[in-house]
Every structure is written in structure tokens, then in C-alpha cells.
């Protein structure tokens, strides 16, 4: 599995470099226009999406057919992809957290506790997003999977908009809101675990 993990990193290294430049430019721009919060939400998601590029590259190279001739199980192939995705998301979260804490410290604004909480929730959201998208990519491949990816973005947004009043009512008390936020990460991790099992099933059934 280590080999597959390393393979993803090597394949994505150019993409990672481009992404690093992209993230730096955005950080700069958003800092200049004083809305650093946007980045805290965006960067982890962008990095979560990085693993999706790996699917496209694999399909282009017809990699999976070869990968499965090696002494690795299908579960390990899926596992390596989940691990890479998790690492990228973690990295994205860490980068933005360091950045927002640093910026807050320099400008003597912002509450570190709040920034930590934001990073925590964004990390959970990114994992939730991955949990939805990865099985879809396994099931439909990167081409059609991309369409579903947009759906995975839109659906939660739509639900949020539709039920915004009842949600606002539900989370009116600070206590409920805080608890909900705290539960978000364990819930996302649980979802990711379930998602992994679903992806394994999909991948087991595939023929190459």
C-alpha cells in the first residue's frame, strides 16, 4: 500500500506544485482585500479535490489493470487512495490554520480559538465531501464522476438553503451549535469509513 501511496504522490507532484502556487496567490489576494476567512474554507476543499486528479491520471494510464497484477489487494488500492485524500485534506487544513493564526497574530485580530474551530469544521466538511465523491468516482470513473461531484457540492448547499429557517431555529442556542460543530468531525470520519467500505465493494466488483 505504501508503494501505491508513493505512486500517487509522484504522479501528482507537478499538480501539487501548481496547486501550491495557486494557493499562495489566493492567500496573497485575499489577504490584500482583507477576507482571509474565504481561504480557510477553500483551501482544504481544493486539496481534497486533488485526489480526484489522481483518478483521471490513473484512467489515462490504464494503471488499475496493471496495479492489480501486483501483490496488492483491491482493498489496498482503495485504501491507498483514501489515505492520500485524507493526507491532502489534512495538509490543506494545516496550511490554512497556520496562515490564519499567523495573520491573526500579526494583525492582533481574530480569536485563535475561533480559528481552530473553523479549521476543525472545514476539515470535517472536506472529509464529508470526500466521503460522497470517492465512491462516485469509483463507480462512474473520473469523467462522469465529475458531474456527480458538482452534485455533491450542490446538494448540501441546496439542503442548507431549503431548511435554513428550521436550521437557524435548531441552532439558535449557542450550546446546541457548539455541540453540533464538535460532533461534525467524528461524524465525518464515520462517514469516511462507511464511504471506504462502499468504495471497496464497488471496486471489488469491477473488471479490468
Amino acid at each position: 500500500m505504501k508503494g501505491l501511496f508513493v505512486k500517487d504522490l509522484l504522479v501528482l507532484r507537478r499538480y501539487i506544485r501548481t496547486m501550491a502556487v495557486f494557493v499562495l496567490v489566493y492567500i496573497l489576494v485575499f489577504t490584500l482585500i482583507d477576507s482571509a476567512d474565504v481561504i480557510s474554507g477553500m483551501v482544504p476543499l481544493v486539496l481534497a479535490m486533488m485526489s480526484m486528479a489522481a483518478f483521471s491520471y490513473d484512467e489515462l494510464a490504464k494503471w488499475d489493470r496493471f496495479a492489480l497484477t501486483m501483490p496488492v489487494s483491491r482493498r489496498q488500492v482503495v485504501g491507498a487512495r483514501y489515505l492520500v485524500s485524507l493526507c491532502f485534506t489534512l495538509l490543506g487544513t494545516a496550511v490554512t490554520l497556520v496562515f490564519s493564526l499567523g495573520l491573526g497574530y500579526l494583525r492582533k485580530t481574530g480569536d485563535p480559538a475561533e480559528q481552530l474551530l473553523t479549521a476543525y469544521v472545514v476539515f470535517a466538511a472536506a472529509l464529508g465531501f470526500l466521503s460522497l465523491v470517492l465512491p462516485l468516482l469509483y463507480r462512474f470513473g473520473p469523467e462522469r464522476g465529475r458531474l456527480f461531484m458538482i452534485a455533491a457540492f450542490l446538494l448540501p448547499t441546496l439542503l442548507l438553503l431549503l431548511f435554513r429557517d428550521s436550521l437557524a431555529a435548531l441552532f439558535s442556542s449557542q450550546e446546541v451549535l457548539e455541540q453540533a460543530l464538535l460532533v461534525s468531525l467524528p461524524a465525518a470520519l464515520l462517514l469516511l469509513g462507511l464511504s471506504f467500505l462502499v468504495s471497496c465493494r464497488v471496486y471489488q466488483a469491477k473488471e479490468f
Binding site: 508503494g3 509522484l10 507532484r13 489515462l60 496493471f66 497484477t69 501486483m70 501483490p71
Partner: protein, 286 residues
Amino acid sequence: MQSILQVKDLVKRYRAFTLDHVSFSLPKGSILGLIGENGAGKTTTLKLILNLIRKEGGTVSLFGMDPVRQERQVKEQIGVVLDESYFHDTLTPKDVAAVLRRIYPGWDDGLFERYLRRFSLPKGQAIKEFSRGMKKKLSIASALGHRPRLLILDEATSGLDPVVRSEILDVFLDFIQDEEHSILLSSHITSDLEKIADYLVFLHKGRVVFEEPKDDLLQRYGVLRCGEDVFARLERSQRVGYRRSRFGYEVLVRDRAALRRRFPSAVVDAATIEDIMLFYVRGEQQ
């Protein structure tokens, strides 16, 4: 002789094609060639052996193990080269080693580098800058780098020029010097198989037409060139297929020595593997 691979009654059904009870075995220390036209079932057979697709019937045994249940142990000992290149364009041979080193317990960096040198492959160059022949050589070097006992090659020499092909065949012949090693290769380039294979399995429309030692085939089969009179006296059991032309008949016969005894004046040449394949597939049977 001990066999390293045994395939028995393999069945796989697709909408337009069925692999129909394919059986054969590969003795240790030898090279078995799967021949057959495009779509005859060669790749399907190899994929079933490698557990890339699910079989609907039959059994496969590799090194005496079940490749589905003991997948890992089996695959550690196999080197595979598929029809197409499968390494990402942006990787270099050095990257490939970095990946495979972490996957195969028996990976040997020194050996891999020796193959890279033998094939004149630059270690640090991206694969997208490689020619087709170079990509194939890289695939072969990577398939050999973990010291496998069995090589499985799907059309390993197709699409390559004669110089590269002979270079690659030499590597296979070196590999087989170790009597613990064996090779299973599919090809429609019959001349390559004629050069290196010990056994041939001929697949046609998803079925095994024959499984025989190559030398026996080349010694026995013949192409008879004759007129209507001789053709009419031939028994159906003697011929495999024939072609009729303005000048007479060309007939693939199973036993050219027997035929010569019966028709001392007839022209009977030794048949090549290509002749045998063509007459089976395209010759008239009746």
C-alpha cells in the same frame, strides 16, 4: 514434468464472445505461447489467470496455489507485461523503481538498473518522451526487477520493429536459463513464438484448438500443394483445412511424413506456425 501453471475448463461469457472451457498447463522451465487471431480469447485467458476479471467456471492453479485465495503470495512471484504501457507519462524509470520497491518484497534495484542499462533507458527521463519500444522495454525491466519465477506477457512484442523484438526475445531466453523460471506469452506474431516457445496453445473463437510441443507441430504438419486428383483421394482425417486457387489446392495436413509415403510424388513442405494458424482459421474445412 512439474507444471507451474494449470488452467482447467476456464469459462468466461461476454455478450459477443465466450471463452469456452479453456485448459492447458505450463511445465516448469519452459515457454508456452498462446496463439490465435485478435479476439480469439488470449487476453481474456491471461486476465482470468491474473484474477483481473472473474471466471464463471474452471480452475487456475499457479505454483500449486489458488491465485484468488492466495493472491498475494502468487503475485509476488509473477512479472506481468501487458499490451499497453501503464505507467503514467510523467513518471521516470527512477520513479517506477521507487513505487515497485515498496510493493514487491523481492525487488532488486541493482537488477532493475542492469536491465535499464542493457536496454539503454535513461533513468531520469519522463516516460512521455519514450518511444513505443522504450516503453515496452521499461515494462519488461520492471516486470523482471523483483526476480519473478513466472513471466506473463500479453503481446509483448507487437508493434515493435524486428531489432527491438529480437533484443526482447533474447532477454526472455536469458530469463528461461534458470530452470525454475517459466514464461507464458500471448502473441499473434507467430515468428517470435516459433523462435522461443516450447509449447503452443492455439485458441480460436474462445476454444483451444490444440496444445502441443512446438517442435512436434513443426515436424508433423505440412502444406501439400496438389491438383484435384490427389485432393480427391485425401481422407478428411488427414487434412486440417485447404485453400483452392486457380492452380490447384493448398492443404494443411496433420502428418506430412505419412502423406509423403502415400503420395511419393506430391509436393509437401513443412508448415510454419503461421500456416497452421491461417489454415485453421481461414481455410475451408469441408
